[in-house]
């Protein structure tokens, strides 16, 4: 399996905070890479770095053989990387459909389809056809999350990064969205899946990386990694700290 994304010795400082430090990992074409880590570990920052929202202080990010660090978000998006947000980032003045439609407008490969066809397909894939006309502020959390996914999908991305896409959902809703993601993955789209919900991570991930304090703590087979003593200590430790 060849790597679609390679992150090499990437670092990011925010003033005094070193959010990501000397981080290297790669994602293979077609896999679902789970990414876990305690609060503040740097997961969202990694997404921000890859998607061009923030520029790395140092290091290289190679997507599909090309350097993308320092490129603008829209350039990275049209190059083939899309993401969802931890907190909803939907366009509030628009309907669910329009949100997805905007995403389909600027994609490179339309495969002979119109933006409308792409939009409809993305909506159908995410089970949104019935509520496509709803304004975003009238959507349930679950619907919002699925619009985010549909939108990422509609950009024609070959790599989609989801940031806590099941947070706040109940069991049924979680299963629904995981099914959708696995369906997307079956089309050959690579996923990076950031999640606190360990059950969800274990269910979908082919491989797992664990971040702590901006660096890579462990990586490998999900079952093995999750049982590693380091991971349990860091992860549970932080969970307890949260509880306090």
């Amino acid at each position: 399996m060849s790597a679609i994304l390679e992150v090499t010795k990437v670092g990011k400082r925010f003033g005094g905070v070193e959010a990501v430090r000397d981080l290297s990992f790669s994602v293979a074409q077609g896999e679902i890479l789970g990414m876990i880590g305690p609060n503040g570990a740097g997961k969202t920052t990694v997404f921000n770095l890859i998607s061009g929202v923030v520029e790395p202080t140092n290091g290289r990010i190679v997507f599909d053989g090309k350097d993308i660090q320092g490129k603008r978000p829209d350039q990275i998006c049209t190059a083939g990387i899309a993401r969802t947000f931890q907190t909803s980032s939907l366009l509030s003045g628009m309907s669910a459909r329009e949100n997805v439609h905007v995403a389909s407008l600027f994609r490179r490969e339309k495969g002979g389809r119109t933006a409308d066809q792409i939009t409809d397909q993305a909506l159908a894939l995410c089970g949104l056809t019935g509520i496509a006309a709803k304004q975003t502020d009238q959507l349930t959390t679950s619907e919002q999350k699925r619009v985010e996914v549909a939108r990422a999908y509609a950009t024609g991305a070959r790599l989609i990064m989801t940031d806590e896409v099941v947070a706040g959902l109940n069991g049924v809703e979680t299963d629904q969205i995981l099914d959708i993601l696995q369906g997307i993955n079956r089309e050959g789209i690579t996923l990076i899946f950031v999640e606190h919900d360990v059950r969800a991570v274990m269910r979908v991930s082919h491989r797992l990386v664990v971040l702590a304090e901006g660096t890579l703590l462990a990586e490998g087979d999900p079952q093995v990694v999750a049982r590693s003593a380091d991971v349990i200590r860091v992860y549970l430790g932080s969970r307890y700290a949260d509880a306090r």
């Binding site: 998607s51 929202v53 603008r72 978000p73 829209d74 350039q75 998006c77 049209t78 899309a82 993401r83 947000f85 980032s89 939907l90 366009l91 509030s92 003045g93 628009m94 329009e98 439609h101 905007v102 995403a103 407008l105 600027f106 994609r107 933006a115 939108r151 990422a152 509609a154 950009t155």
Partner: protein, 291 residues
């Protein structure tokens, strides 16, 4: 009673042109999040270019208006590319200062070209000069301008609702980061927004000069008017600006009718009151203030 009706009719007629001049201002405020102090320059230059093309070169006024509007579109793109874009990431105050500077320089240049005085165009319009509704006389030309303004508003609404371009502009108005992450080239949208702003404001200018004498120095009044329209109607939305324009026209007309000497104070007091009751404007999209 018919007094009030007349005030509402005339205020609304005037309001249409205020609205037309404010659409671009509202869009730029919504999308780029900036208050463009050079906004009125589009209006007065649009007016003066129309004047030159018609009165000096003899081009048909319809064509002249379109050329003037188009060149204001180009100017909008130019101002965005050469000035605003360069300071966009700096403090918002810098953009204010800069657009103010652009306004001053543009006015100076316009004064070199057209002199400091006012110009105006008289349009010979076939048909009766006045229409009567009951005992109310309404100048036909005012109605023509009103209709043109409405059509221009309609076209803009269609562009915003139906075209990819409009979607992209609206996406940026909502959330720039989110738009750029689904592939919208924000820089280009900014350019297009300023271009649209220039075109529509330039068209407003082309109409204005057929209504009243217009000189380069008047740019600031237009910036202020556009600003007030947007305060009333709420920023970012075209229909908000349209209704804001009508209301502003009526408030303005009523104030100058009943208490002319206190009119500026009354207008501002009304606006302050409005802002206190509904800070986002009557029809504001609400969430988009960035700078």
């Amino acid at each position: 009673m018919s007094e009030i009706i007349e005030i509402i009719i005339f205020g609304t007629l005037r309001g249409a042109i205020f609205a037309l001049a404010a659409f671009g201002f509202s869009l730029v405020l919504g999308v780029l999040g900036i208050v463009n102090f050079a906004h009125g320059v589009f209006v007065v230059l649009g007016a003066l270019i129309t004047w030159s093309l018609t009165a000096q070169i003899g081009i048909n006024i319809v064509v002249a208006s379109l050329i003037a509007a188009g060149s204001m579109g180009v100017l909008g793109v130019f101002i965005q590319k050469v000035f605003i874009d360069r300071v966009f990431k700096l403090h918002p105050l810098m953009i204010l200062v800069q657009t103010f500077g652009v306004a001053v320089v543009a006015t100076q240049l316009a004064e070199l070209a057209w002199g400091g005085g006012e110009r105006s165009l008289k349009v010979e319009f076939p048909g009766p000069a006045l229409l009567t509704i009951g005992d109310i006389y309404i100048p036909t030309w005012d109605i023509v301008i009103f209709v043109i303004s409405l059509i221009a508003a309609g076209v803009l609404v269609m562009i915003m609702q139906m075209t990819p371009l409009g979607r992209a502009v609206r996406a940026c108005r909502d959330n720039i980061d989110s738009a750029s992450l689904v592939g919208v080239d924000v820089g280009r949208v900014f350019l297009i927004t300023m271009g649209i702003c220039g075109i529509w404001s330039g068209l407003a200018g082309a109409l204005v000069i057929t209504l009243k004498p217009t000189g380069p120095y008047m740019h600031f009044f237009w910036t202020l008017d556009a600003f007030l329209v947007v305060v009333i109607g709420g920023m970012g939305s075209i229909s908000g600006a349209l209704i804001g324009g009508f209301l502003y026209g009526i408030i303005n007309f009523a104030a100058y009718y009943y208490l002319p000497n206190q009119a500026p104070a009354i207008i501002f007091a009304t606006l302050i009151a409005l802002l206190m009751i509904r800070p986002q404007g009557l029809f504001g999209l609400g969430t988009t203030v960035r700078k």
